[in-house]
C-alpha cells in the first residue's frame, strides 16, 4: 500500500526549493497519499507476459544526424534575462 509521510513531503518540498506552510504540508500530504493510492492500481496488473517497456510509447531510436546548425542570434536568447553582461547571464554571486 502506497503511503507518504509528512516528513517526506517536507523533504520533497525542500528539494524543490518550496517553502510550505503548516497548512500546505498537511494539504499536500493528503493529496499525495490519494494520488499514490490511485496509481497503486497499476501494481495490480499482471505483467508477467509483457516485454520490458521503456517510456509510455513503443517508439524507439529517434536520432539526429551529427550536423551543426547555428542558432545565430545571441541577443534573442538573452532577451528575457533580467540581467546580462558581455553576452552572459548575470546572476547573484554563486559561492563555491
Amino acid at each position: 500500500m502506497a503511503n507518504i509521510t509528512r516528513e517526506e513531503i517536507i523533504h520533497i518540498a525542500k528539494l524543490a526549493m518550496l517553502n510550505l506552510s503548516e497548512q500546505e504540508i498537511e494539504h499536500y500530504t493528503k493529496d499525495m497519499q490519494e494520488i499514490l493510492a490511485y496509481a497503486e492500481m497499476i501494481n495490480q496488473i499482471d505483467t508477467s507476459d509483457t516485454d520490458e517497456t521503456i517510456g509510455a510509447t513503443e517508439q524507439k531510436n529517434k536520432f539526429r544526424k551529427d550536423e551543426v546548425m547555428e542558432f545565430k542570434t545571441r541577443e534573442d536568447l538573452l532577451q528575457n534575462a533580467p540581467s546580462q553582461d558581455e553576452g552572459m547571464f548575470q546572476i547573484p554571486k554563486v559561492i563555491n
Partner: protein
C-alpha cells in the same frame, strides 16, 4: 597503528567529452572556446516548449568506448533526468542515464609494479555536460556561459579496484589512451575534456568491509589527482587513528593549499530523484548495429604493442612506452615509414621527447611536430649528418619552432664534422692540452680515452663525429 597498516581503496568516475561535432540533444557546435553563449540555442538553454533529440554519434561513440573496454552493450537503454539546482544547469535537471546504462560490466588492464592488474568497469553511460560559471573579481556577481551545456559526455564508473595513486594514474592514462585510439574524444585534460570524480576510503589491511568514502569532484590533472589522493588518504588515516569517524561527503581539492575542504553539509544528502525522461524515447540497439561498430574499431594499443614487438623487434619497455599514447604511436609509425629505424625512433621518443614533455609539463597530444620531422631526424643521425647529442638539441628546437630538421641544423650550424683533417686537428689539440690523460691511457687506464673524447666533443660543441673521434684518438695514442 602506522600508515603502512592501512590500505587505500579508490574508485573513479571518469567524465570524457565526446568529440562529436554537435551537442547531445541539439545541433549546436561543441567547439571549445567560442564567445560566450554563441554555441547555444533554445534547446540547450532550456527554453520552455523545446524538445531534445539524441545525436546518433553519441550512441555510436559510447558503444565504441564500451566495446574497447570489454563492456557488455545494453540492447535496451534509456535516458533519465537527474534533478538538482545549480546555475550551470539551465533545465534544473541533467539528462543522464540511471538504471539502464548503454555499457556495463567491462574492464581494462593496467601495468603495475607487481605486473598486470585488471580494473573492473561497472558501467559507461551517456549524459550532457553543464555550462560554465564565471566569477569576476569585483563582486558584481556570477556570469553564466552555456556553450558547454549539452556537450556530450560519457561517464565511466570503475569498481573500487584501485589501491594506490600510482594505479589511479596508470588507469587514467590507459582510459585516455584507449579513447584517443578509438577517436571518440581528444581527452585534453587542460581543456577539461577528461576529468574525474575520485572516491577515496581507507581500511586496515586484511579488512573485508570498505571504509566510509569521500568524493572529490571534477579533478582535471594527473598531478592534482595524485596529490589529492595522497592528502585525503592520510587525512582519513589520521582521523581514524585519533579515534574519529569519516563522514561520507563531497570534498573540494584546493591545488594551491594542497588540502581538501568540505563542500556540502550532511543535511543536504544528495537526492537526485531520477526518473525516465519523458521527452526521449527508448534506445534499442540491434545485434547487427553493435557488430558493425565492433568491426569498425581501429587497432587498439594491445594489438599495436604486439606488432611492435614482433615486426619491429622493439624491446617490451619501448613497445609499452610507444603504445601508451596514440600520439606517440602515430608519430612513431609515421617516422619509421620514412627512416626505417624503429629502434632509434622509439629511443628518441622514450628518452628525449618524454623528457622534454616532462620539463614542459605537457602531454603527448601537445607535441607540436609530426612523425615526418622525427623520421627525418633519425635519418640525419643514421647518415652521420648529426651526432646523437646534436639530435637532442634538434628535438628541443622542434618543440620551440617546428620545421624540417635539416633546415634547423643548417640554420644553427649543427652539421656534424666528419672531415678527417678537421677532426685530426681537434684530436692533436686535446692531446697536447691533456698530457696526464695520455699518460694514464698508456698506463692502461682505458677510461682516459672517454675523457679525451668528451673534451673533443666540448671543443666542437658536440658536432664532431664520435666514431671518427674515437678512432683517431686511438690511432694517435697507440703511436
Amino acid at each position: 597503528m602506522p600508515k603502512e597498516d592501512y590500505e587505500i581503496v579508490i574508485g573513479l568516475e571518469v567524465h570524457c567529452e565526446l568529440s562529436t561535432k554537435t551537442k547531445i540533444f541539439c545541433s549546436c557546435s561543441t567547439e571549445f572556446g567560442g564567445e560566450p553563449n554563441t554555441h547555444c540555442c533554445p534547446i540547450c538553454m532550456a527554453m520552455p516548449g523545446t524538445l531534445p533529440v539524441l545525436n546518433e554519434k553519441v550512441v555510436e561513440y559510447a558503444v565504441k568506448a564500451g566495446l574497447a573496454t570489454n563492456c557488455k552493450i545494453a540492447q535496451n537503454s534509456k535516458n533519465d533526468r537527474k534533478n538538482y539546482f545549480y546555475p550551470d544547469l539551465p533545465k534544473a535537471y541533467q539528462i543522464s542515464q540511471y538504471d539502464m546504462p548503454l555499457c556495463y560490466d567491462g574492464y581494462v588492464n593496467i601495468e603495475t609494479e607487481e605486473g598486470e592488474k585488471t580494473i573492473r568497469l561497472e558501467r559507461i553511460h551517456i549524459e550532457e555536460d553543464a555550462g560554465k560559471l564565471n566569477h569576476d573579481d569585483y563582486g558584481r556577481g556570477t556570469f553564466v556561459d552555456l556553450n558547454r551545456a549539452g556537450v556530450p559526455l560519457i561517464e565511466c564508473v570503475s569498481k573500487p579496484d584501485l589501491r594506490s595513486k600510482e594505479e589511479v594514474d596508470a588507469y587514467l592514462r590507459k582510459l585516455k589512451s584507449i579513447f584517443e585510439y578509438i577517436e571518440i574524444s581528444d581527452c585534453k585534460m587542460q581543456e577539461g575534456s577528461l576529468r574525474a570524480d575520485v572516491n577515496v576510503s581507507v581500511r586496515k589491511k586484511g579488512a573485508t568491509e570498505f571504509g566510509t568514502r569521500t568524493e572529490m569532484k571534477n579533478m582535471n590533472s594527473f598531478r592534482s589527482i595524485s596529490r589529492a589522493i595522497e592528502y585525503e588518504a592520510n587525512r582519513q588515516i589520521e582521523v581514524l587513528e585519533n579515534g574519529g569517524e569519516i563522514t561520507q561527503e563531497t570534498l573540494r581539492w584546493d591545488d594551491i593549499s594542497g588540502k581538501t575542504f568540505s563542500m556540502r553539509d550532511k543535511e543536504d544528502a544528495q537526492d537526485y530523484r531520477y526518473f525516465p525522461d519523458p521527452d526521449l524515447v527508448a534506445i534499442r540497439l540491434s545485434d547487427e548495429y553493435i557488430e558493425n561498430i565492433k568491426n569498425s574499431l581501429p587497432e587498439l594499443p594491445e594489438s599495436r604493442k604486439k606488432r611492435y614487438l614482433e615486426e619491429y623487434k622493439l624491446i617490451p619497455k619501448a613497445a609499452n612506452f610507444v603504445t601508451s599514447s596514440k600520439y606517440y604511436s602515430d608519430l612513431f609509425e609515421e617516422a619509421i615509414a620514412i627512416c626505417k629505424n624503429p629502434k632509434t625512433a622509439s629511443n628518441l621518443l622514450m628518452s628525449e621527447v618524454a623528457r622534454i614533455l616532462n620539463e614542459r609539463e605537457e602531454e603527448p597530444d601537445q607535441i607540436p611536430f609530426s612523425g615526418k620531422e622525427l623520421g627525418e631526424l633519425v635519418e640525419l643521425i643514421d647518415k652521420g649528418t648529426i651526432s646523437s647529442s646534436i639530435s637532442k638539441k634538434v628535438l628541443e628546437e622542434l618543440f620551440e619552432n617546428p620545421k624540417s630538421p635539416s633546415k634547423i641544423i643548417e640554420e644553427k650550424g649543427w652539421i656534424q664534422i666528419s672531415d678527417e683533417g678537421a677532426i685530426k686537428e681537434v684530436v692533436s689539440k686535446i692531446l697536447e692540452a691533456n698530457p696526464q690523460s695520455v699518460a694514464d691511457f698508456k698506463a692502461g687506464k682505458d677510461r682516459a680515452l672517454g675523457f679525451l673524447v668528451g673534451q673533443a666533443m666540448k671543443e666542437t660543441k658536440g658536432k664532431a663525429n664520435p666514431q671518427m673521434l674515437n678512432q683517431l684518438f686511438l690511432e694517435e695514442l697507440k703511436k
